[in-house]
């Protein structure tokens, strides 16, 4: 077929075809039709396109008894039959002749269509060769011409024409069938029949055609119907093809088709002279008011409707005799029952769509996918793998309440619940009928799952396959271990050299790497801590005690690793070009955050060492070095403020808690180090510096107050007094400047300063107190004055802060009033 639908076959080919052309020799009975239609440019639809040509492919060999069927025993001639149905053959021949005579190409020929001609070409599009069936007097004349089947015609001719010929015969049969026959036929369809013999089958097919196939095309206009029919007829035997073993499935199908709701339409003229057919139709249409799918027999779900409509009617008289209450309860129950029935009906609509085997098959696929999706990693709840894979969730769940039944239920549980569910369902539902079948499925599925789990475990964790002799690797992937796009393998030796080289140059990256090392040590330690075995007692078995011992020694080792990673013990250089490694670690916020976590695992000695190291390097700790108030009262950069905040929240509390339990000599030692090594006026102008000094001084004062009566530490106390005086002398000149200057007095965040002054004031001699007051008098007056003008709440706070100091030296803000 060419683009415009012209026939591109060359004339010479056409003539060759013509040579052996019989009545139905044409491959496509409608080819001629479409060929003409294609010439008309308005004609868009080609029948060729809609006709699938199934008829040509049909393998039909059982034509031996055609003579019996079509009355071949009576010699019938073409003349008696009439040739008026042979339009296709006739016109094709005629056209072939014309073309041959005129010698014109087909395209030109087709444009000549409108010319008056003696052959029936112009009317051809409307005619299909079946028009004759419309004539009421045609049918009696119908007799098959045996000669058209065989002589001089090839195999193809035997197949297609036969089917077409079947159509008139079916009409004949239709006319002849009585109501009883129709019923008998329906019964035959809906009952299991043994495989029919070849010739019987064909006859059956024809009858089938009548009962089953007719209603559908009836909805079409007659003309279309006629075009459609051969196709339909040709399809019919395909339905017939499978031996009718599955009757239960087949019956509803047929029945649905029969009773498919169709508007009662005036029967076409075509059927007027077929009374039995009409009767049949009416019979078919009677159940239209009923549910759309109403099988005459069988299918239980459809009978449910009427069955529950029935009882209320029969019980109507009984109901009359009931009391109101009874009736109401009865009605309620009835309604409930009806509702339930309806629900069951709705649910049962899809009953039996899948066999148990189907379901099991799908379940197994799903389970297998579950296993492969997790990469075969066996996630025992609480196991190492589980924790490694799902650390955040597991720990989070522990921290914030018990583990939920989330979507990430461990796989094995998942599989178990799943299996249990299906298993129980089968156990319940099927045990009545097939007690063994259900169990068998579940068992098989369990085995399957077990095997799948085994296979997944056996699979190498490393998802790669190196084929021998190949240049590359094949990487497998799943959602947990995605296929690596890059697979770089670093030579180990080189990287080690580089690491050593880097370690020499202490830079930011090295510090960050140190911090990460601390974290990984810390996490190993914490993991180990979680595995703490139950504490052994005297009568626990030796292996338990041994396990505990091993745990403790491991703990010691990990602790040592952590301590080394902290780099506290790195030698202190006298004139360092770079800060101490530990101070470098402290310079990063994540380094600060690690301190409280590490501190828990350190022993007293280590804690003191750490504190000492901080005390020595107090002026180069970033939160003091960078937090020195800039000139012109500019505020600190936000980043520095943030770091200061983190330091006071993360690092100070553990240090404070340690100092709070430290004996006096340690405080003396620490303060002495600070005074010796650090420029005190410098650190006094920073929040952290002030806080640390407050921490030391206040602890000393507390110890002093609690041990007032015990004179055994006179040595220490003398030492402390000396240190205190040194400190006081150091701070006195800068007392007016120790308050933060970045904001005005009213908004100033200076509580830490008042705390420091209070701590100093408590331990001060009267003379020192006097000097203290002189130093900060201006600020006190200012703050009190400003505080008076503030709203109630803020005033309370501000005055309270000032009072910290005032009360320490035996005064009160009220006295200033």
């Amino acid at each position: 077929m060419s683009f415009f639908g012209f026939d591109t076959t060359l004339p010479r080919d056409r003539q060759q075809q013509r040579g052996s052309r019989g009545m139905f020799e044409q491959h496509d009975p409608f080819a001629g039709l479409s060929r003409d239609g294609g010439g008309d440019e308005d004609e868009v639809l080609n029948f060729d396109d809609t006709y699938d040509g199934l008829g040509q492919r049909l393998q039909e060999s059982g034509d031996t008894f055609n003579d019996d069927t079509f009355g071949g025993d009576e010699p019938v001639t073409r003349q008696s039959l009439g040739r008026d149905f042979d339009f296709a053959g006739q016109t094709a021949t005629a056209r072939g002749n014309v073309m041959h005579e005129q010698g014109v190409p087909l395209q030109q020929h087709q444009q000549q269509q409108h010319q008056p001609s003696s052959y029936s070409m112009p009317s051809r599009p409307a005619r299909t060769g079946y028009e004759a069936y419309k004539q009421p007097d045609y049918l009696p004349k119908l007799e098959a011409d045996a000669s058209i089947w065989g002589a001089g015609i090839g195999k193809k001719a035997a197949t297609a024409p036969q089917e077409q010929q079947a159509s008139p015969d079916s009409s004949a049969a239709r006319k002849m069938m009585s109501l009883e026959e129709v019923e008998a036929m329906m019964r035959a369809q809906s009952q299991p029949t043994p495989p029919v013999q070849e010739n019987d089958r064909q006859a059956q097919g024809l009858r089938d055609m009548l009962g089953v196939g007719s209603p559908a095309p009836q909805q079409m206009p007659p003309h279309e119907q006629q075009q459609q029919r051969p196709v339909q007829i040709l399809q019919r035997p395909q339905h017939q093809e499978p031996p009718m073993q599955d009757q239960s499935l087949r019956a509803p199908q047929i029945l649905q088709r029969q009773s498919s709701p169709q508007p009662p339409r005036p029967q076409s003229q075509h059927f007027h002279n077929q009374p039995p057919r009409g009767q049949f139709q009416q019979q078919q249409q009677t159940p239209q008011g009923a549910p759309a799918v109403q099988p005459p027999r069988g299918a239980p779900q459809h009978q449910r409707g009427p069955s529950y409509n029935g009882p209320p009617i029969t019980q109507a008289q009984q109901m009359m005799q009931m009391s109101d209450d009874e009736r109401q309860t009865y009605m309620a129950e009835e309604a409930k029952r009806a509702k339930r029935n309806h629900k069951i009906f709705l649910l049962s609509k899809n009953n039996g769509l899948m066999t148990p085997q189907d379901k099991n098959f799908i379940t197994r696929i799903q389970l297998q996918q579950l296993l492969t999706a997790t990469g075969g990693i066996d996630n025992e709840p609480g196991s190492e793998e589980q924790l490694a894979e799902d650390f955040y969730y597991q720990v989070y769940a522990q921290i914030r309440g018990g583990p939920r039944n989330g979507p990430g239920q461990p796989l094995n549980q998942f599989a178990q619940t799943y299996l249990f569910q299906t298993g129980s369902r089968y156990g319940y539902g099927r045990s009545r009928h097939h007690p063994r079948g259900g169990d068998n499925h579940v068992q098989r599925m369990e085995q399957q799952v077990a095997r799948a789990v085994e296979a997944a475990k056996a699979r190498p964790k490393n998802k790669q396959l190196v084929m021998e002799g190949s240049l590359g690797k094949i990487a497998f992937s799943n959602s947990k271990t995605p296929r690596p796009l890059l697979n770089l393998k670093r030579p180990d030796s080189e990287s080690r050299i580089r690491q050593i080289a880097r370690a020499a140059i202490f830079d930011r990256k090295a510090a960050l790497r140190d911090i990460e090392r601390v974290y990984s040590c810390l996490m190993r330690l914490e993991d180990h801590e979680r595995k703490l075995p139950a504490p052994p007692n005297e009568d626990s078995p030796p292996d338990v005690i041994e396990g505990h011992m091993r745990w403790r020694s491991d703990m010691q080792e990990l602790n040592q690793q952590l301590w080394e990673a902290m780099k506290v013990m790195e030698p202190i250089q006298q004139n360092p070009t770079t800060p101490h490694p530990f101070i470098q670690i402290l310079a990063h916020s994540k380094g600060k955050k690690v301190i409280p976590r590490v501190f828990r695992h350190l022993d007293d000695n280590q804690r003191l060492t750490m504190l000492t190291l901080i005390a020595i390097h107090l002026d180069i700790v970033d939160v003091i070095r960078d937090a020195y108030p800039p000139a012109h009262n500019a505020p600190l950069p936000p980043k520095v403020k943030e770091e200061v905040e983190i330091f006071s929240q993360a690092v100070m509390p553990p240090l404070f808690s340690y100092v709070n339990e430290a004996p006096l000599n340690i405080i003396i030692g620490l303060l002495g180090l600070v005074l010796d090594r650090v420029h005190v006026p410098f650190i006094l102008r920073t929040k952290i510096g002030v806080s640390i000094l407050t921490m030391l001084v206040s602890r000393a004062e507390l110890v002093k107050q609690s041990q007032q009566s015990s004179p055994q530490n006179t040595e220490d106390w003398n030492q402390w007094s000396t240190l205190y005086t040194r400190l006081f002398d150091n701070i006195e000149p800068i007392l007016p400047f120790i308050f933060p200057t970045d904001t005005n007095v009213s908004a100033s965040d200076d509580v830490h300063v008042w705390q420091f002054l209070a701590a100093m004031g408590v331990g001060a001699s009267p003379d020192q107190q006097q000097r203290l007051v002189l130093g900060v008098k201006e600020r006190v007056m200012e703050t009190v004055a400003v505080g008076r003008g503030l709203p109630e709440e803020m005033r309370e706070r501000r005055l309270g802060e000032v009072n910290l100091f005032m009360r320490a030296i035996g005064l009160d803000v009220e006295l200033l009033g």
Partner: protein, 100 residues
């Protein structure tokens, strides 16, 4: 698995999922799977006027691959823990890379 693990802890929290087609859907996270497919309940579209066809939708299943961002409830995120989990993931990846 870090993100899977992380999103599991957000179940029953309200999140806003921004899709690659610019639709933002706020709703209660009902479940998430290893592909980070997301099930949301009680959803509302942030720009309701722009996407009226979603105004009657009550819950959605979102394929993980079409998600651009998930806006998290800050209170439900344990940052230090998440940092640790990230470290673990990284160290695991590193050991795997060494093996490979």
């Amino acid at each position: 698995m870090l993100f899977f693990s992380f999103f599991k802890t957000l179940v029953n929290h309200e999140v806003t999922v921004e899709l690659k087609n610019d639709i933002s859907i706020r709703g209660t996270l009902k479940s998430v799977d290893q592909y980070l497919n997301i099930k949301l309940d009680d959803i509302s579209v942030v720009e309701e006027l722009k996407y009226p066809h979603l105004s009657s939708v009550k819950n959605v299943f979102i394929r993980g691959s079409v998600v651009r961002y998930v806006h998290l409830p800050a209170a439900a995120v344990d940052t230090p823990l998440l940092e640790d989990a990230t470290r673990r993931e990284a160290s695991q990846a590193a050991t795997k890379a060494k093996q490979g």
